[in-house]
């Protein structure tokens, strides 16, 4: 392995890490808010990619501009899922049941996408997807740079929403103690519904960048979900910053494995991370909060 290849793997890993963080943010957020592990996160990313695909192919809307439509659309979808299903799960074994319920979401989303688009692979196209900038010895694809920038902006936006607004304070209060939040006049149900909506809405942005950097079909979500789970688990469930850090860390590690060993094995980095972290440090590497292991 040459030094250049290593550096390139690291740069690639950092940039794709941003994209993965954007895809994983919703998963982390929904777990933090609802204690729900959203297995449908991968399918939602793919749904976001297809929404952008429809807008750009049939209406000629630019991918980034199209987010102004796809993000609110997915936000509404998220609010509907919370209202229709997630809040109806019993408190006691909510997390385990949520895995089954969201698995069902994933299958239904996959079914609709298969009906509408078939199982052939598609990819988003735009002028900046195939162009790249040349820095020193390396060619950096524009889309990865834009994607990373988008991820940084969205993550910062989420941070502001949750830590600098009244809504965010209400949300954090209802996480800490639902009853007390109720008592001081926070509408916990509405707060949660909006938070899940934001989580799913952000996923639309992740889906667009994913679709611009990967070929996808309705089944691509299964491939994604294990990686996203690994990112969120390593970063600490519910922590947005942790998701960003662990996404970059894991993608760099996977890229180095791919360069040093073989690309087919790089996926094992993610699974190994899941098992090692959950077995020995269930709160995640970056999560300060104690694990809700029970």
């Amino acid at each position: 392995m040459s030094f250049d290849a290593l550096v390139e793997a690291i740069i690639d890993g950092v940039l794709t890490g941003g994209v993965y963080a954007l895809m994983a943010a919703g998963l982390s957020l929904i777990f933090g808010v609802m204690d729900i592990i959203n297995i449908a996160q991968g399918a939602m990313v793919v749904l976001g990619a297809y929404l952008s695909y429809v807008l750009s192919v049939h209406l000629g809307i630019d991918l980034f501009l199209g987010l102004l439509i796809t993000v609110p659309a997915m936000l509404l979808l998220g609010m509907f899922l919370e209202w229709g299903f997630m809040r109806r799960l019993r408190e006691g074994d909510r997390t385990s049941m949520s895995i089954l319920v969201t698995y069902a979401f994933a299958i239904i989303i996959e079914g609709f996408l298969t009906l509408s688009f078939g199982t052939d692979y598609d990819q988003l196209s735009a002028p900046y997807i195939n162009s790249s900038v040349h820095i020193l010895n390396f060619y950096l694809p524009d889309i990865y740079i834009f994607g990373f920038a988008l991820a940084a902006v969205v993550m910062a936006g989420l941070y502001v929403i949750f830590f600098r607004t009244k809504f965010g304070r209400g949300l954090r209060a209802s996480l800490q103690n639902r009853t007390a939040a109720d008592l001081i006049g926070i509408n916990v149900n509405r707060t949660r519904m909006l938070a899940v909506g934001i989580g799913v809405g952000v996923t639309a942005a992740g889906g667009m960048v994913y679709g611009a950097t990967n070929a996808f079909n309705p089944g691509s979500g299964y491939d994604l979900i294990s990686r996203l789970l690994a990112i969120v688990i390593l970063g600490g469930m519910g922590s947005i910053g942790g998701a960003m850090a662990s996404a970059v860390f894991l993608l760099v590690a996977a890229d180095i494995v791919a360069v040093a060993w073989e690309p087919t094995w790089s996926i094992l980095v993610f699974y190994a991370a899941i098992i090692l972290v959950l077995s020995f440090r269930p709160q995640g590497l970056f999560g300060a909060r104690a694990a809700r292991a029970q």
């Binding site: 895995i99 299958i107 239904i108 199982t119 899941i274 694990a291």
Partner: protein, 362 residues
Amino acid sequence: MSSAAGTDPAAEPGRTPAVTVLPTQRGGWLVAIVALAVAILFPFVEGGAGDEGTMSIAFFVVIYMAAVSAWNIFTGYSGYLALGHAVFFGTGAYTLALAVKDWNVPAGWTTMWLLPLCGVVAGALAIPLGLVALRTRRHVFVVVTIAFFFIFQTLATNLSFTGGTAGIQVVSPPWTYPVYNVNFYYVGLVVVVATLALSWSVRRSRFGLQLMAIRDDEDRARGMGVKTTRVKLAAFVISAVPVGIAGGLFANFQNGVYPQGAFDPLFDLALALMGFIGGIGTLSGPLLGALVLESLQQKFTQIFSNDGLYLIIYGALFLAVLLLLPRGIVPSVAEQIRSWRARRGGRTAEAAAGSGLPKVAR
């Protein structure tokens, strides 16, 4: 009322130990014998053996009956949701395919003697996996089992001895068509009966009570001296064995294995769905769930042959069951019968009513 829950009745007065739910009640044996007779005679019924398609569906139904019943021994009794049993199914399938290939086993009945080996290999694999996964609790455990599943799918695709994405061929048994399906159906039926016997004896044993005590309250069970890790691991290993056998049988029936077929995420989901529909923690629930769902699924694929529509129906059905019947058909029906008897009066009914309806699911 002897289980662990019974030692502390004050804590949850409304709870009836799941042990008393159908079908170990009176009449259970009769129902079981009639069901078995129907299952044995089924190939001779009009539209049975004569119809290749029906017997093929029947074969898949018994495969799933065995797998769900086995999965239920762990998940149903311990309360730990395992979503990675496709690992054992795939391992059994690959064990059979590799054994046939490497040892040049003649096709036909001789191959069937490899099935116990498939179970043993799957069970042996369950020991290290269980040791790691069972360090965690509840929902973390679920995620770890999913991760294991994906690891094995990746391994099956990429290791050299598994034949990559193309998989491994198994020589087809020299049976003509209706006979082919009927033979496989009967072997599958034997596996189902054996798995049920296993599940039944686990349920009646001290070991089964320990498992159910873990399900009800793991910390309290440990406090009362249940060696929780050992008990959970044993159940995990026991439940892996029949799933491995079912996998081997599946590979033999399909004349081969390939990674996506052997390690199928929908298989994990199907086990959970069938278990939940029928009622996990019961004996008959998994059988009923497998019968209803697998025959529906096979029929759907025959009618629609459209992946998308089938997926939507499947997912919607799953959602409906989870939200409307979270405890499954068998426990809900049992509850109905009990309250109906209670209204009519009578000694047993009063006993049942006196202990109240079980409020706690699973």
